[in-house]
């Protein structure tokens, strides 16, 4: 029992020492980021719209892949050279293709991508309207009861509970 609590205490101290040893490491990285807050702000803004080519479902801003790191460094450099956002994107597109952009440019090649869904929606609405109209007119023709039917209904209703 006593031994256990001593062990726990020792574990606590050890882990505290371990964690505090890590702190300077983290602080160093933070310092790097704080170097130029304006550059970092623009970097994040731009790289959120860029795809990391290694882990394709991650943005360049969030990826921890090494290439993403290199590319962020590259984008930082371009920002410091005072290039505009679209120039920076062009720079990357020239190397990696349209695929690096999460929002691809609107051009004939990407028309299907941009407008295809709306086209499908319009087609669906037209199809639906056509279908509903057809169904309704079919029902109009069919649903009216004949005089014979009405007479039978009346008879049944009047007959009350009797089967």
């Amino acid at each position: 029992m006593n031994l256990q609590s001593v062990f726990l205490k020792w574990l606590c101290v050890a882990s505290w020492l371990f964690l505090s040893a890590l702190v300077p490491l983290q602080a160093k990285e933070a310092a790097l980021l704080a170097e130029d807050p304006l550059v970092e702000k623009r970097l994040i803004h731009i790289s959120e719209e860029l795809r990391c080519m290694v882990c394709q479902n991650e943005s360049l801003a969030s990826s921890r892949a090494e290439l993403a790191n290199d590319l962020r460094e590259e984008v930082r450099k371009l920002i410091r050279e005072d290039r505009s956002d679209s120039q920076i994107k062009e720079y990357l597109v020239a190397r990696y293709g349209d695929f690096v952009l999460y929002k691809p440019e609107v051009k004939p090649l990407t028309w299907v991508l941009w407008f295809g869904p709306f086209l499908l929606l319009v087609l669906a609405i037209v199809g639906m309207a056509y279908y509903l109209r057809q169904r309704q007119s079919a029902q109009n023709g069919r649903s009216a009861l004949s005089d014979e039917d009405r007479r039978k209904v009346q008879e049944i209703l009047e007959s009350g509970d009797k089967p």
């Binding site: 080519m53 090494e66 290439l67 590319l71 190397r95 990696y96 293709g97």
Partner: protein, 195 residues
């Protein structure tokens, strides 16, 4: 009547689309560099006594640029294929040693100088090439991956075929297979050599 055929047709259409979509390799992305001049560079090579190398040195030749590294697992798979291919002597293969020195190669708190990095890359690459065979006429050393960025490298190995005018004619991301060499690369090289 045959009304049930409409949803069935739509469904089959969807199945075909999905089947095609799922069987495509999402890593295979058409490179914007095909048809463009190979980006210029000037890099040290693995041979300490050789001058710097740049694509302009290969003007007038159809050649292959193969991006590799000793830490790259897929390169190990590709390497024997390249070695065999180089023995056929169809075209010169130039290596681009991509980011040979990785962060874990540097002991914590002690950064290597660029000279140390180059030496490290040369030593380790030479050992690796000695063990696995050397298909390259030379290997340029891209330590910081800057040239890699210009070539749109995002997964090693990558392979480019560059024509006599220095224009990139073909790019492959991933392992070059013997089938690919036979069906695509060799015919292209023959065509480019003839022109």
């Amino acid at each position: 009547m045959k009304k049930f055929l409409i949803p069935l047709g739509l469904f089959l259409g969807l199945v075909i689309f999905l089947a095609v979509g799922l069987n495509r390799d999402p890593r295979e992305i058409p490179s914007p560099l095909v048809g463009k001049p190979a980006p210029a560079f000037s890099l040290d090579t693995l041979d300490a006594n050789a001058p710097k190398f740049g694509p302009q040195d290969m003007k007038g030749k159809v050649w292959m640029l193969n991006v590799w590294a000793t830490w790259c697992v897929a390169c190990r798979e590709e390497h024997p294929i390249l070695v065999a291919f180089s023995k056929v002597n169809q075209l010169p293969i130039v290596g681009l040693s991509y980011k040979e020195v990785q962060p874990q190669d540097e002991s914590a708190g002690k950064k290597m100088t660029p000279e140390e990095k180059l030496q490290f890359a040369r030593d380790r690459s030479a050992l690796w090439l000695k063990r696995h065979g050397n298909p390259y006429v030379l290997s340029a050393v891209d330590l910081d991956g800057r040239v890699g960025i210009d070539y749109g490298v995002y997964g090693v190995p990558e392979t480019y075929v560059i024509d006599k005018e220095g224009v990139i004619r073909y790019k492959r991301v991933g392992v070059v297979t013997p089938e690919l060499l036979q069906s695509t690369i060799l015919p292209l090289v023959q065509k480019l050599n003839a022109s």
